[in-house]
């Protein structure tokens, strides 16, 4: 978060060791043994119930929102302290707070950056009580070209009427609120006519359809909006400033998200190696397996070093630059290679479903599920092809493609 970004990264070694010790001990006591097995093949209700239970546990331990400022119920953790927490959560193989992810990170970062005092006072305390937020950005016709989004917000007396369709709205089925991008000025250039709204999902005119994805799970929804009224006080920041707000919030989050994902993947790799060693897997007699395991370990260590540098940048500058695109491509493609390897090592048994395991991130240990889900990271958050354009144009200064006007 931007507030924490000004804090010291290099906390005194002892303070950070004390925190690490404290978090590790707490997790050892509270992460339930065998939760992965218990959640494998869980019903939607079983999944949501478990997520809410873990949310409450983390809250009682003081680890739910330590990254929030103290005046809003957080602990004002520095970036370095947040890194320690992410590392320990990954090490412990704890459940990921997937259901509340947008509530705990994206929404508060956005409101603390650009929201009004009244919005902060209304929504942050509610999140601590379990309000689920989702994010309505992408549309069927606005994926990589997100700025071309068509969902329309028309000013009316006391607020806006919003109509349109959103896609890939994660956790929308469980969500109470949605952060929504909609076009408020169709005559302005694409990036300058978009506003950011807070949408109450119970509003009349909101309709949802679950979107089943390749893994078989339905973590996303299609969201249909038909003249939905959103009151004026639910506009975030200035009208037509939504694109900039959404971009800057995401940039501030990127460094830490990379640390979290990288750490989880590193420990996912370690669990795989420990399992192979414990089973004395016959595959290990094969040179290719050793070669591939060594390659995977090495690339994850290099990625971890790179993520650490992003965090240093986050501390120094309050955000991360185009280097985040490099890290995103590296992470997603390392994830693809790792999950491909895990499937290959397991052989035919990997082809049998053991029931979907949600809430275990992208390293659940169900190798085919992780493999299939690895496309989420090469596609979502800006496809890797878009990231390569960003690297080429913003980092290397290469000329843009000529615009095609039809």
């Amino acid at each position: 978060m931007t507030e924490a970004a000004t804090a010291q990264h290099h906390v005194p070694a002892r303070a950070s060791d004390v925190l690490r010790h404290e978090v590790r001990a707490w997790l050892a006591e509270h992460v339930p043994d065998g939760w992965r097995e218990g959640q494998s093949g869980a019903t939607r209700e079983g999944y949501a119930e478990f997520q809410r239970w873990w949310f409450a546990e983390m809250r009682s331990g003081g680890y739910l929102v330590p990254h929030w400022p103290k005046e809003h119920g957080g602990r004002g953790f520095s970036i370095a302290e947040q890194v320690v927490l992410h590392e320990e959560v990954a090490r412990a193989g704890a459940p990921r707070l997937q259901l509340h992810f947008a509530s705990l990170y994206h929404l508060p970062a956005t409101l603390l950056h650009a929201g009004s005092e009244a919005q902060i006072a209304r929504h942050l305390p509610a999140i601590l009580d379990g309000t689920v937020w989702c994010q309505g950005f992408s549309e069927p016709e606005a994926g990589s070209d997100l700025a071309s989004l068509r969902t329309r917000a028309t000013a009316v007396d006391g607020g806006y009427l919003i109509s349109g369709q959103k896609l890939w709205t994660s956790m929308a089925e469980y969500a109470d609120w949605c952060m929504l991008l909609a076009r408020t000025d169709p005559t302005a250039p694409a990036h300058h006519g978009i506003s950011l709204f807070l949408l109450d999902m119970r509003s009349p005119g909101v309709d949802l359809r679950a979107l089943r994805q390749a893994s078989g799970a339905a973590e996303f929804c299609e969201l249909f909006l038909d003249d939905v009224f959103v009151p004026e006080d639910c506009l975030v920041g200035a009208v037509n400033d939504g694109w900039r707000i959404a971009q800057s919030t995401l940039s501030a989050e990127r460094g830490l998200t990379m640390v979290e994902l990288t750490e989880r993947l590193r420990f996912g790799f370690r669990r795989l190696v420990e399992q192979l060693a414990a089973q004395n897997s016959a595959e290990l007699a094969d040179g290719w397996a050793l070669d591939a395991l060594g390659a995977s370990y090495a690339e994850l260590e290099a990625l971890r070093h790179l993520s650490g540098q992003l965090v240093d940048q986050l501390v120094a500058r309050g955000g991360v630059g185009v280097e985040a695109s490099v890290a995103k491509v590296l992470y997603s493609e390392a994830l693809r290679r790792f999950t491909t390897l895990a499937v290959e090592l397991e052989g035919l048994p990997a082809q049998l479903s053991r029931g979907l395991l949600l809430g275990a991130g992208w390293e659940s240990g169900h190798s085919m599920q992780d493999f299939i889900n690895s496309w989420m990271w090469t596609i979502a958050g800006g496809t890797n092809e878009i990231q390569r354009n960003v690297i080429g144009e913003r980092m290397l200064g290469l000329p843009r493609e000529p615009r095609v006007t039809l």
Binding site: L293, G294, A302, R388, L396, L398
Partner: protein
């Protein structure tokens, strides 16, 4: 060391190399059949960089391993023809790791002052040591030894002998230059016929010998990977520059995604390589396992850097395949770096073995 101190070392070195190791100067040397640029070497020495990571008590500057890495990368970037990698990047830290105070006392001050050049042969074949008149005489043959034609001393070891020794490349040693593909470096074969080891020349014996040999190989791998990252970085920059200037179909070729994405991939591979190498030198500084650190660096950068250089040739098109252009020199340099001190695949297997034998927390 802070980032700004490392930046300063990099800038000072880069400035010198811009003036003293330009493409024109290099071509003049290569056309004259030179295998080394000894004048440049003396200027590096004059900066104090031969003693960069040597403790002050041994006559060095006493800076850190990342400082050494910075200089190594700049030399790779400039395709410099100096014995720095072998002598300062590999032999010096091996002597420091040997825990032989007398050897350190007698060798390091002269190496740090550039008065003495050392190189290494960790895979010497038929390596033997015989005792004669209380002294030790070493025999054996080694190939692919960097810079032996100008080195004064050689560190010899083999996978199955219980000693690591420093021997003078005296008249009992025959050094034959080999015709290497990378013209910016000098590979030699060395034949030792009963070369006497000085009293303080035994760096390690018994069980300690293989440990020191593995450590030396790790230093060599890290030093060549720093060189490779530097050389790949330069190749990438040349390719980016070309992609902005070269116009085909009425526009700069860098605006085509086919070129743009290839360049982006080169950036991504270079970032990962640099991280792996930086991590390795930081581990040396913090006393982490040098074998693991080197294996990670070699696993990532060992294949990626020559691939980046190969892509740079491709982006340059026909021009990249000419002798005049530097692109092929970067590719050849990175290919030699990849092949020296254990191929990447061997390092990956070693990593996997460490993970499986010792558990992940010890890696």
């Amino acid at each position: 060391m802070s980032t700004s101190e490392l930046d300063e070392i990099r800038d000072v070195t880069r400035d010198l190399l811009k003036q003293r190791s330009s493409p024109d100067q290099r071509h003049a040397l290569l056309d004259a059949g030179a295998r080394h640029d000894l004048e440049l070497w003396q200027e590096i020495v004059a900066l104090g960089w031969a003693g960069i990571a040597v403790p002050e008590q041994h006559g060095g500057v006493g800076l850190t391993a990342p400082a050494l890495a910075t200089v190594l990368a700049e030399l790779g970037r400039a395709l410099a023809m100096t014995p720095y990698t072998a002598s300062i990047g590999c032999a010096v830290p091996t002597i420091l790791a040997a825990d032989n105070h007398d050897a350190a006392e007698s060798l390091l001050p002269r190496l740090a002052a550039g008065e003495l050049i050392a190189t290494v042969a960790f895979d010497t074949t038929d390596l033997t040591a015989t005792t004669s008149d209380g002294g030790l005489l070493v025999s054996g043959t080694a190939e692919f030894v960097l810079d032996a034609d100008i080195a004064d001393v050689l560190i010899v070891a083999s996978p199955d002998t219980p000693f690591v020794a420093v021997v003078p490349l005296s008249e009992r040693a025959t050094v034959t230059p080999q015709a290497g593909w990378d013209p910016t470096r000098s590979l030699c074969s060395v034949r030792l016929d009963g070369v006497p080891v000085a009293g303080d020349g035994l760096l390690a014996e018994g069980d300690g010998a293989q440990t020191l040999r593995r450590t030396g190989l790790a230093y060599g791998a890290l030093a060549t990977m720093a060189d490779a990252v530097g050389t790949a970085e330069c190749a990438l920059e040349l390719a980016v520059e070309h992609a902005k200037e070269r116009r085909q179909f009425n526009r700069p070729i860098g605006s085509f995604q086919a070129i743009k994405h290839r360049l982006a991939d080169m950036v991504i591979a270079l970032s990962s390589s640099r991280s792996a190498v930086d991590r390795g030198f930081e581990a040396l500084e913090q006393g982490g396992s040098e074998v693991e650190a080197a294996a990670v660096a070699k696993s990532v950068a060992g294949d990626a850097c020559p691939a980046i250089c190969g892509d740079a040739v491709q982006v340059h098109g026909g021009m990249g395949f000419t002798w005049e252009h530097d692109a092929h020199l970067h590719l050849k340099r990175a290919k030699l770096d990849q092949a020296l001190f254990g191929r990447p695949r061997a390092h990956r297997r070693q990593l996997a073995q460490i993970l499986l034998d010792d558990g992940c927390d010890h890696a």
